[in-house]
Amino acid sequence: MSSTESTDNGSVEQDRALNLKLRIWRQDGPHAEGSFLDVDADQIPTDASFLEMLDMVNERLIEDDIEPITFPHDCREGICGTCGVMINGQAHGPERATATCQLHMRKFRDGDQIVIEPWRAAAFPVLKDLMVDRRAFDRIIEAGGYISAPTGTPQDANEIPVPKEVADTAMDAAACIGCGACVAACPNSAAQLFTSAKLAHLNVLPQGQPERWRRTEAMVETMEDYFGSCTNHGECHEACPKEISLDFIAFMNRDYIKSKSKNRSLASQ
């Protein structure tokens, strides 16, 4: 692409716009049948984000009296975890470590066909078009994804030193944005990456120790109530916009096995 300062206006325009063929999933509600809508998206500037491209398509649909496409989004900065669609079969599309809202159209070429679908997983029913229900994630957190520290009770923060390495590992895990791409990318619709990220964040910290085993058992078992089982494909990590490590899944598996005996012995005390 030519540098913006040095080209004159006419050629900038040509350089910077794409004509695309979109196939977008439309579905009225969780129980409705869905189908693809084919639309041409012409003159899409390469500087636009993927969601701005959808905005433009929607504006054109509205002009034609067609109900615009429902798609989830909010922060558009890759942090809230609201956005997320399958783009040509890839969760969040072709760019590594990038949520849908941070993907820009310069990653596509003129004439491309782009198939856009919602996350597909039994635990994430489609609510409308590209929007799904991810409340099962909240259930996993409610099961134990917290440290009980009622407001006003804690001691001075520096009284619990946390080695820098431990704090860094906790932060690596805690960076998860809860978008659900891991589940969408997994052939089994498993939620191991999401669950293990929260579990590892809390279980490695000294503050997380008192509830460690109870938390582990409760979160893992709640996860299993909603999601499929992990067969170590690693697709979740490939799709993750925050590059959450597969090591956390191994960590969770170890903690889960231990939790069974630890919780029994705690209960008998």
Binding site: T4, E59, D74, E142, G145, T153, P163
Partner: protein
């Protein structure tokens, strides 16, 4: 008539005295009270969790699918607290002083002092929840200096402080949901506050999945619904941020304070085209090493590399030799506007200034710069397609935070008894300008440490009273009105989209009530906004059904409220004929072009009363008394 109910006594003792004198609800009786909390961002989630831990029955509402999505998640830089862990001379008093001064002497001393006091408890609370704050090798908490502060009092979790604090509060909330003390209503849009006999008794919500409207009653209603920055259409806020909850409360009697106060953040990526949907903040920390400049020559078409050093105008370094590129946000923003308006803007649309790392790279090496700012540089490249290691970044100011909000007293109660307001949605602590890393602090102070104490004062006398039943006519009326209003939009059948009108409104507000304001422009806006509103109401096109998911319909109610709110904002800006903080009136500047306050005439909070759609709002003043801080003119020369 506006009584802030500030406790008596020396400033350092007010909060302790007050905590002792507010009425208490005894532990066994707390379960007899229902509290509604609208909003589950930092302020709302922390309040809902803390109230539930105390034993109250809490109903929490958010239009998001999960509390974890609230806009607080996007805060990057950090959270202030007067811990003085660095032993560099910080103290509660210094944080208080800096905040009052930074707010350009337009905030209430007693509230700010309390904020500084509880700031230390926030860090303890969050660390105990497992918030992975940055640590030193010895395991103790790390700090940095932020936004030009002279002490290192900012705590942070990489570049994701807001995310980690919000997840901490969300998890505390989730524990209470599990315990059955909080009922969480997600995807529920609050569209009205219900009042009976002058007291807030409930809300009306619309279920965003089914379109059904519901009534909820309680002994008290708490709004923690965030700021109104999206009145500008383009801002660094998330797309769904809006003024609706506060505005609906305003229409029901809550005074709206200082709506003209808005913070424009200097380092954001400039607009690239009409299709642009939001603006992205580049962390303020970049100004520590980046040098800001524009070409000296007007309309210079050369690329940055072709402009020799002598023809570069480092305007902040030249004008403010002692602070240079680190002048406060409002000063940096205004100066960027000035040079761009003069015709020195850079980039394809000539709407930015350079933030150049060449000197830092030459001095410290690429690796050192990558270490410090790698994430930010990657983000910049992802968005603009330009490599900031070889080309200077282009930046421009963008709307970022709103200091105005619902007027609240010392207890955080609005002028409607039983209706409280927390976080960015209230006006309370930042005066006319907010310091970096202080919004997270305020949201969590309100939610964890202030409201849980002060709400008892309102509730205790109501012991034994049942909440107003939702069968009461006040609820029936409110439900019918919300349903009517929402459905009516699909009947307009106009020709332009909701987005179109929002964008048009944003242009007017940005042009005339943005970084610099003057009487002529504001008067122009006061005639253009009602005209646009009228056209919008007659000509907006909302397709689809009101009885299910309909994102256009969600948005049209919000834009409609922005259309009314924008007028109040402009009116407030027009009446405040002084410059202060983020409010720069061109008529009121020093000979050097800096903001000039008029303490004699404007040392008050402007709180506006709604008198109906066809009447002018009425101004009420809360005079600000400064007993502990000496008013001075800010100078960064």
């Amino acid at each position: 008539m506006l009584d802030a109910r500030i406790p008596d006594g020396p400033i350092a003792e007010k909060w302790d005295n007050h905590k002792f004198s507010v009425k208490l609800v005894n532990p066994a009786n707390k379960r007899k009270f229902d509290i509604i909390v609208v909003g589950t961002g930092l302020a709302g989630a922390s309040a809902a969790a803390s109230l539930a831990e105390l034993g109250y029955n809490v109903k929490a509402f958010t239009f998001h699918d999960s509390p974890r999505r609230a806009h607080s998640i996007a805060a990057q830089g950090g959270i202030n607290a007067a811990k003085n862990y660095r032993n560099d001379g910080d103290s509660v008093y210094r944080l208080f002083y800096d905040t009052v001064k930074g707010g350009d002497y337009r905030s209430r001393e007693a509230n700010v002092y309390r904020l500084a006091q509880v700031s230390v408890d926030i860090i303890d609370q969050c660390a105990a929840q497992g918030v992975p704050f940055a640590r030193e090798y010895g395991g103790l908490l790390a700090n940095r200096s932020f936004g030009g502060a002279q002490v290192s009092r900012t705590f942070y979790a990489r570049g994701q402080t807001g995310q980690q604090l919000l997840l901490g509060a969300y998890q505390a909330l989730a524990a209470q949901v599990r315990a059955g003390k909080v009922t969480l209503y997600n995807r529920s849009d609050m569209l009205d506050v219900v009042i009976k006999d002058g007291h807030a008794c409930g809300i009306v919500t619309r279920d965003l999945l089914t379109g059904e409207v519901h009534a909820h009653s309680a002994h008290a209603v708490v709004l923690a619904t965030g700021g109104y920055g999206n009145v500008y259409y383009l801002s660094t806020n998330a797309m769904a941020c809006n003024v609706t909850a506060a505005w609906r409360a305003h229409r029901k009697g809550a005074l709206f304070a200082n709506p003209c106060y808005t913070q424009i953040h200097p380092t954001c990526i400039p607009v690239s085209d009409e299709f642009q949907s939001k603006l992205t903040l580049m962390s303020e920390s970049l100004r520590n090493d980046g040098r800001i400049w524009v070409p000296r020559q007007l309309d210079d078409a050369r690329s940055a590399a072709d402009i020799p050093e002598s023809e570069r105008y480092y305007y902040l370094e030249e004008k403010y030799p002692s602070f240079g590129n680190l002048v406060p946000r409002d000063v940096a923003s205004r100066n960027a506007k000035t040079v761009v308006d003069e015709g020195r803007g850079v980039g394809p649309l000539k709407n930015g200034v350079y933030l150049d790392f060449a000197a830092a790279i030459a001095r410290d090496g690429v690796e050192a710069v990558r270490e410090r700012y790698g994430n930010l540089f990657d983000m910049y490249e992802r968005i603009t397609g330009e490599d900031p290691y070889s080309l200077p970044m282009r930046i421009y100011p963008a709307t970022h935070y709103t200091m105005g909000g619902l007027w609240v007293d010392y207890n955080l109660m609005t002028t409607v008894p039983g209706l409280y307001c927390l976080g960015e949605a209230n006006f309370s602590d930042h005066g006319a300008n907010r310091l970096g890393a202080s919004a997270l602090m305020q949201g969590l102070a309100d939610g964890y440490f202030v409201l849980p104490y002060t709400i008892g004062d309102h509730l205790a006398p109501k012991l034994g009273d049942a909440p107003v039943p939702t069968t009461d006519p006040v609820f029936a009326e409110a439900l019918a009105e919300v349903d009517r209003r929402t459905r009516s939009w699909t009947q307009v059948k106009g020709t332009r989209s909701v987005e179109h009108y929002h964008r048009e409104l944003g242009k007017i507000v940005w042009e005339y009530c943005g970084m610099a304001r003057n009487k002529t422009g504001l008067e122009k806006a006061l005639s253009e906004i009602p005209a646009l509103r009228e056209e919008f109401r007659k000509n907006v096109k909302v397709l689809g059904s009101p009885d299910g998911v309909n994102q256009q319909l969600e948005k049209v109610n919000r834009v409609d409220d922005f259309m009314e709110f924008a007028e109040l904002k402009v009116r407030d800006a027009l009446h405040r004929a002084e410059s202060c903080g983020g409010h720069f009136r061109e008529e009121s500047q020093t000979p050097e072009g800096e903001a000039l306050r008029d303490d004699e005439n404007f040392s008050y909070v402007a709180a506006w009363e709604w008198r109906g759609p066809d009447a002018d709002p009425v101004l009420h003043k809360e005079h600000l008394n400064f007993e502990n801080v000496q008013l001075t003119q800010r100078s960064y020369k």
